[in-house]
Amino acid sequence: MKVWRWLWLVATLGVLAEGFKVALFVVPPDAAQGDVQRIFYYHISSWAGMGLFFTLNLGCSLVYLAVRNGNNAVAMKADSLAVASAEIGVVYCFIGLVTGSLWGRAVWGIWWTWDARLTSTLVLWLIYVAYLLLRRFAAGPQMRTLAAVMAVFGFLDTPLVYMSTRWWRTQHPAPVFGGAPGSGLDPSMYPAVWWNLAGWTMWGIFVASLRYVSEYRAQKAEQDEALKALEYVPGQHQMAEGR
């Protein structure tokens, strides 16, 4: 692993530790919910990470579709980054669902409800799980193109998730950021939001960069193997041996 990656990891762990401390021990508890509201700081960081990496997956999928027949090197990089970003996006989405469910059980008294926000998020998670399963189990040269097309259409659910609490009446709380007048957090709580947003985003970038490199290496090795197989001509080989 390169030096800058180690430095990035050290900085990330520092920011995450500060975020943990500020969220649990520094900012005041919510006046209505008490300490359970502190779940929000990890919950919203997970959704931010999910939004970031699913958007990156969309961008990479579009690049792959645009250049796949013309620039193989760029296409392979875009496809590798698409896999890495989809995987970490699925992880963030899953954590968002788990932390939301834990908060819901403590505050609402139920683990789950089929309202627009929760349902559209579950559907989004399932779409990207299906994307990863397609990549894992489908074979043949068209697999990557199919996956990229699926990613483009799958992404359509992301703005739906974001807007669901604005468009429909949901049990899920109204938007905290950019919501109606009077919504939002008390300014004393913002440090916990910013530290955790920064820390978990940095963590996602670190893990996605590792995953990208490994996926790119695997695809490159697979391509080199295929090219080597094409170069091997049995007749020529026998003639060379005969001489």
Partner: protein, 39 residues
């Protein structure tokens, strides 16, 4: 709130960290496999 709220707060933070570490383990396995493949 009360006990359940505190319990769920601890579980939420622990689950977040554990899920990320499990995925990091998967990424490490892939990293090693790709490194071997590249050699």
């Amino acid at each position: 709130m009360g006990d359940m709220g505190h319990r769920h707060l601890v579980i939420a933070y622990a689950a977040t960290i554990v899920i990320h570490l499990v995925y990091l383990g998967y990424v490490a396995v892939k990293w090693r496999a790709a490194k071997t493949l590249a050699k």
